[in-house]
Point group: C2
Chain length 142, copies 2
């Protein structure tokens, strides 16, 4: 049965969940005017003003080229700027960017409690952590 193939395939089920949860996240983060990935990037910059793109890529687990593009767009929106330091480009939030911090945090909380309400709060967090670890395993023991 195909259903079996599909339900038993981590590729498939992960991607399906990814589509579902992305939609939910976009919905919640809409209040900030950003898509979720941009919001997360911004959060990383709040935590460390002057963070390098390489570090951002490591935290968000995104390719360097992707980080370049994300920052480009955030810069166009005037939320972030970069200062080139040697071969690195260091990222800082603008005042306009800083002004979003609370909103973004709110969105994050909403999202978390939205799926928490459905899955159970503990279960949601536990699943999330599990997925994080599974990614690690699959990436490294390869």
């Amino acid at each position: 049965m195909l259903n079996t193939y599909i339900k038993e395939c981590l590729y498939f089920t992960t991607n399906r969940l990814s589509r579902v949860i992305t939609k939910m996240a976009e919905d919640e983060f809409a209040a900030s005017g950003l898509s979720p990935t941009y919001a997360y990037l911004l959060m990383a910059v709040y935590e460390k003003e002057g963070i390098s793109q390489k570090e951002l890529g490591e935290i968000l687990h995104l390719q360097p080229s992707t980080v370049t593009r994300l920052i480009e767009k955030l810069a166009v929106k005037g939320l972030v700027y970069n200062r080139v330091e040697g071969r690195m480009s260091l990222i800082y939030t603008t005042d306009k960017g800083k002004a979003l911090e609370d909103v973004i945090h709110e969105c994050w909380n909403h999202l978390r409690s939205r799926y928490g309400a459905i899955l159970g709060n503990a279960e949601g967090d536990e699943l999330s952590l599990r997925l994080y670890e599974v990614s690690d395993q699959l990436e490294n023991k390869d």
Copy 2:
């Protein structure tokens, strides 16, 4: 700490896992000359020759427009053709498409045992099933 935000966010961890497993799947399905999604679509057609696009979308949990595009490309490769029946377009495999059945099945097995070797076979299947259910919950109880 941002790390907490990230590890505790199902949006984030799911998408990360999605990128990791997709890469692995693309790697394994390369032997078939198809990316994984195309291979799955083809598997669905093997199971039911003359399946409608709507059904395909439901099985694969993809939007109709996406299914249209997938089929377009499979048709260009000569693996599939469609017969318009009223307002529906019914999909059939060509001989060339049928010739891939075994290869695709092999790829599927390889993929499954590759992550099974890392996560444990039972754990892999169990996780996959769990993600399937979680998707259902998030999609419906909304």
